[in-house]
C-alpha cells in the first residue's frame, strides 16, 4: 500500500507498525502527525499506518 511520509509517497507493508518507520529513519524521539492530527506519545508505538495516510515525522531536537 502507499503512504505519504514527510510529503513523499512511499510503499508500506500492511500491518507494519509506525515504530518501524521511526527505526528506519533513526528517530528516537519524535512528534508525529497522521492526516493532520498529532499522535500522543503513548499512541506512537501502537499506530499501524493505513493506506493513504499522510504522516509527518518531526525529530524532536532541543539543542542550541
Amino acid at each position: 500500500m502507499k503512504i505519504i511520509v514527510n510529503q513523499k509517497q512511499r510503499e508500506w507493508e500492511e500491518h507494519q507498525p509506525l515504530t518501524q518507520l521511526l527505526q528506519e529513519k533513526k528517530v528516537t524521539r519524535a512528534a508525529v502527525w497522521v492526516n493532520g492530527k498529532q499522535l500522543l506519545n503513548q499512541e506512537i508505538p501502537e499506530y499501524i499506518p493505513q493506506e493513504g495516510d499522510d504522516i509527518r515525522i518531526l525529530r524532536l531536537v532541543g539543542g542550541g
Binding site: 514527510n6 524521539r29 512528534a31 498529532q38 509527518r56 524532536l60 531536537v61 532541543g62 539543542g63 542550541g64
Partner: protein
Amino acid sequence: MEYSGRYARNYNAFTREEGEKFSQFRVLVVGCGGLGGYIIEHLGRLGIGHITVVDGDCFEETNLNRQLFCTEELLGTPKALAAKARMDQVNREVEVVPLVKRMTEDNVDEILQGHHIAIDALDNIESRFVLEEGCQRAGVPMVHGAIGGWYGQVGVGFPGKPLLPKIYGRDREKGMEEELGNPSFTPGIIAGMQVALCMKVLLNQGEELVGKLLTIDLENMEFISFRLED
C-alpha cells in the same frame, strides 16, 4: 537617525522606511551559544538598536567547533560578555546589554520587560518553555529555533498562540541533540532563519507564520513546512 553607508546594503531588501525603524527595536536573545552567536551578529549588523543578551555560561573547548564568538583566547569568558565585546567591534551604534545569568522562572518576567520580541537560542527544552510562558504573560512574540546534528527547526509563538506545546507536547525532557551531535553548519542556518522571522514579525509581516513550523534536514536536503493545528 542619520544613515551612514554601513546600512546601504540593507536597502532593497528593506525599504528605507522599514530601515529607519531598526534603531528603535529592542530584541531579547536568550542563549549566546551556537544559535545565539550568529543571531546577535545578524541583529547587530542589521542595526537593531538594542539587544539584551542572556547566558550564564562561559566558553569551553567543546564550543570551539561551532559557536561564533568562541575563540581559543576567550575560553573561560562569559558568553554574554563576549557577545557584547564582539558587537562593540562590529557596530557601536547598537546598544548591547549582557546579562551573565541563567534565565529562570524567577527572573524571566523582569528580563522580558521593555522588549518587542524574544529570540529563543536556548540549548534545552525545559528553558524554552520558561521563556515562552514568560513571553505569553508579557504579550511578546518569541522566535523559536532548535538544532541537533543535521536537523533544525524554526517557528514563531505569538501572544495567545504559543508554539512549543504544539511541538513538544508536555514533554520537557531532552531531545535527540546529544545523540546527533552539533556540527558547525547547522546553527548558522537556523540562526539566520530566526533573524529573518524576527524581522518579519517586527515589521508586522508575520501573520502567515502563526502555527507554522519549518523543519530542515540537511542530511537529505529536505525543507518541510508543518502547519500545526490548534
